[in-house]
């Protein structure tokens, strides 16, 4: 049975009881109506007939009296009229005989009235005959007529009373019926109400129970119990709902199972990747402790897993600055801001020295809070080795080039000396081209040697405390001739209160000279060059500004690379000067960059470490370079 039918049935039962009550009440009403009607029919008419009969009789009596007093004609007319009235009412009374004894009374009245009428008739029509001589009319009336009249009247009244009594008792009976109807209706209605209530309760219980079960089951699913099943007891909509619900919970359980499987598979995948990659990975929690370390990283550190977990980086890594950076990353929640060139550490493994590139990154949970820090270590020993070999090769090649360069150079020198008079102008020009290019080649070989020496890590810094002013003055004296030749104004803006720097003064002078020489070469005749130095944060920034042609944007990032020269500009340099500058500044732990706009000149700036800082740059450099 469907839920709809059940509910209709529930209503139906209630309606049925309601109908029952109504029918009962209606029946009672009809019964009551019939009782009252009976009273009207049976008694009320008889009573009114008796009443009228009495009235008519009395009028007839009056008519007799009319006759006696001499108004015979009036009396007779009245009598006749009342006589028919009387007879008429008596006929009605006869039609409505309902009570035992009534019939007898009516017959008696009929008989007596017939006698009375006959006497009257005799008395009026045959006066002379009928009225005995001896008797006076007056006497006749009192002796004969009046007693008869009284008797008839009494009988009529008796009839009325009889009917009245019957009516009264009928009325009492009707009353009894009415009160019985009220009570019975109340009883029926009450019992119907109780039955309907009981039925409704039972029905609602039947409907609500499965819903409650579903509710409980949903709550369990919400709590993660996917095995829950709802009992299917009925075949109605709720039963269907329970079946669907069970299907749903089955599927949810399956999905859940699948998800866990996927997560596990994902985890396995990640673990496998971490275990197989050559890069070392170390995960730190927010307490600066190692929570995870892959095989490669353990190999790099020559450590067993149990020796790593829970340790701080200071216990595991020999390089303090790396540990500081990890702690810093955990503290600030952001990647440490370090130059890529500084992201290298050296670890000893057995007897061999290995070089590693490292990168620190932070990772966050879903809500954006810091979860930990990951340290990546990449073995770059081979790369470094290749780099070293490359530098060595370049160095060796440059060396080997020197001897032929000498021969060629001298040959050309001798040709220019001895044979130029035998050559025409164009041939002489060619000879000078060769001479110039030889000089350039020599410069190139020299620069290459310097650069490869620096790149091979053979740069040895001879650190000393120097004032920036001193460096600037040296440059000024060195380049005095070129500056004067081009009529260039050189402006010095070196702050007086600058602290001493701790640098290799020769190498920094070299850098500064190179930058100023470039500027001098680039500015037009009579141009301006500005050399300034100021304190920015913890470092001294030294800038060389010129009002030359400027450097195109696309070159600004590359200009410090080897052999990068701006197209279309007549440089005459080797394309290595700035690369060497960069290496020297880097060896000092500083940075060098350029800001420039076409047509507005360029500014080269580099940073120098301040002496007061107790950074052991010497140690750092030597550690990094060997």
């Amino acid at each position: 049975m469907t839920l709809k039918k059940k509910m209709l049935l529930g209503y139906g039962v209630v309606f049925f009881f309601l109908g029952l009550v109504v029918a009962w009440a209606v029946g009672n009403l009809i019964f009551l109506g019939a009782a009252t009607d009976a009273i009207l029919k049976e008694n009320y008419r008889s009573i009114s007939a008796a009443e009228n009969m009495v009235a008519a009789l009395e009028r007839q009596d009056s008519a007799v009296l009319f006759t006696i007093i001499g108004e015979a004609e009036k009396g007779i007319a009245l009598f006749r009229a009342q006589e028919s009235d009387f007879l008429q009412w008596m006929a009605r009374a006869k039609d409505n005989v309902t009570i035992t004894g009534e019939d007898d009374l009516l017959r008696k009245i009929d008989k007596r009235f017939a006698e009375y009428r006959a006497l009257i008739f005799k008395f009026t029509s045959g006066q002379e005959v009928a009225v005995p001589e001896k008797l006076q009319p007056k006497e006749y009336y009192f002796t004969t007529l009046f007693p008869l009249f009284s008797e008839i009247r009494e009988t009529c009244i008796q009839l009325r009373k009889m009917n009245e009594n019957t009516m009264y008792s009928a009325s009492i009976r009707a009353n009894t019926i009415a009160s019985r109807a009220i009570y019975s209706t109340i009883a029926v209605a009450a019992s119907a109400l109780v039955l309907a209530l009981i039925f409704s309760l039972a029905l609602s219980e039947r409907i609500a129970n499965p819903v409650k079960e579903l509710m409980k089951a949903s709550r369990k699913i919400a709590d993660g119990d996917y095995s829950v099943q709802v009992p299917v007891k009925t075949k109605d909509e709720l039963g269907l709902l329970a079946i669907e619900f069970n299907k749903m919970s089955d599927q949810l359980a399956q999905y859940h199972q699948m998800n866990i499987g996927q997560i596990l598979a994902e985890k396995k995948k990640v673990e496998t990747i971490l275990a197989t990659i050559d890069d070392g990975l170390v995960v730190f929690n927010l307490d600066n402790q190692i929570t995870d370390i892959n095989f490669s990283a353990r190999k790099m550190l020559v450590l067993e897993l149990r020796d790593c977990l829970g340790r701080t980086p200071y216990e595991v890594f020999p390089d303090k600055s790396l540990c500081d950076q990890i702690s810093e990353a955990i503290r600030t929640g952001s990647k440490p801001d370090i130059n890529e060139e500084d992201c290298y550490i050296t670890l000893k493994k057995g007897g061999t020295v290995k070089h590693y590139f490292f990168a620190i990154s932070v990772f966050r949970g879903e809500d954006g809070t810091l979860s930990g820090v990951v340290l990546l270590l990449r073995d770059v020993t081979r790369l470094k080795e290749v780099e070293r070999l490359k530098s060595e090769f370049v160095m060796a090649a440059s060396h080997e080039l020197r001897t032929p360069l000498t021969s060629i150079g001298m040959s050309i020198d001798l040709l220019i000396e001895n044979s130029s008079q035998n050559l025409n102008a164009r041939q002489n020009e060619l000879l000078h081209v060769a001479h110039e290019e030889i000089n350039r080649l020599k410069a190139l070989v020299g620069d290459l040697l310097d650069l490869s020496k620096i790149e091979a890590g053979k740069i040895d810094l001879d650190l000393e405390k120097v004032a920036v002013q001193q460096l600037a003055e040296r440059v000024a004296t060195l380049l005095m001739r070129q500056i004067e030749e081009k009529e260039i104004t050189v402006e010095y803006r070196v702050a007086d209160d600058l602290p001493l720097t701790k640098v290799d003064s020769n190498k920094i002078s070299w850098v500064l000279t190179n930058l100023v020489a470039n500027a001098v070469r680039l500015v037009p005749k009579g141009g301006h060059v500005q050399l300034s130095a100021r304190m920015v944060g913890k470092h001294i920034h030294v800038s060389v500004h010129d009002d030359g042609p400027g450097i195109p944007l696309e070159y600004q990032s590359k200009i410090f690379q080897k052999f990068v020269q701006i197209k279309g500009s007549e440089s005459g340099g080797t394309g290595l000067g700035l690369a060497i500058c960069k290496e020297i500044i880097r060896a000092h732990g500083g940075a060098i960059w350029v800001e420039s706009k076409i047509g507005q000149g360029s500014t080269f700036t580099f940073t120098l470490p301040v002496c007061q800082q107790e950074f052991a740059y010497g140690n750092q450099v030597s550690a990094g370079s060997r």
């Binding site: 060396h399 020197r402 360069l405 001798l414 220019i416 020599k442 410069a443 040895d460 060997r626």
Partner: protein
């Protein structure tokens, strides 16, 4: 001036040839040797005033030749030709009395100038020498003659003459280094560089003495202009 003989010892045929052609116009008689053995043979049969000696040769190398020369022909002047910025046996060469070095690549004028310097040095009279450059040259002559102590004194004189020039400081540093006092030597190299940061010989010396490998030559004067100073080279004009 009597015709002086010069011996060019280099395994490179083209260097021998170009050097010969460069020096001939100066009025020297030039002979060449392809290696140490041939050089010693020629030395035995001929009298030479000057030897241009390549340090790196197959067979008997330059240092051995230098040693023989200083032992047997102490009057012969020697100019060492190198292709390397640093030479492991430079201190050795210095001790042996080689004070004149020239580094490849050099130009014709540079070698001529150097030879000329050596020639002029011979004629200088120490008692009359009064200018800085002469003192430097006399100082170098003392080295050539194996008188390191005299050379040191002369260098000091030169410094007193003109404290604002780097060469004398550098030479003094080199002499002290030969004695084995690196730290003291470095002070003088630095002093030279303080005067002229681009003074290459002092740079090379300082680099060598401060570097991990305590090798290398002792540079005594600017050799062929280095590329960074290339602008100077152009300016100098031929």
């Amino acid at each position: 001036m009597e015709t002086k003989s010069v011996l060019v010892v280099d395994d490179e045929k083209n260097i021998r040839m170009t050097l010969s052609l460069t020096l001939e116009p100066m009025g020297f008689r030039i002979q060449t040797a392809v290696n140490g053995e041939e050089a010693l043979e020629k030395l035995a049969s001929n009298g030479f005033w000057l030897i241009l000696l390549d340090l790196k040769m197959p067979g008997m190398d330059g240092i051995e030749v230098l040693r023989q020369v200083k032992k047997n022909y102490s009057k012969i002047r020697v100019i060492i030709i190198t292709a390397h910025g640093t030479i492991e046996s430079a201190v050795e060469a210095m001790k042996l009395g080689a004070v004149d070095f020239i580094q490849k690549p050099f130009t014709a004028n540079e070698i001529r100038e150097l030879v000329n310097q050596v020639a002029v040095r011979e004629t200088l009279d120490e008692s009359k020498a009064d200018d800085y450059q002469s003192l430097i040259e006399i100082c170098k002559r003392h080295v050539t003659d194996g008188h390191i102590d005299l050379a040191r004194e002369t260098a000091k004189k030169a410094i007193a003459k003109d404290p604002a020039k780097p060469e004398a400081y550098n030479l003094l540093g080199a002499f002290i280094e030969i004695r084995g006092d690196w730290l003291e030597a470095q002070k003088f190299y630095r002093a030279a560089l303080d005067i002229d940061p681009s003074f290459k010989p002092a740079q090379a010396n300082l680099e060598r003495t401060t570097s991990f490998h305590k090798f290398g030559k002792i540079a005594l004067w600017p050799e062929a202009e280095k590329p960074e100073a290339g602008k100077n080279e152009e300016d100098k004009g031929e």
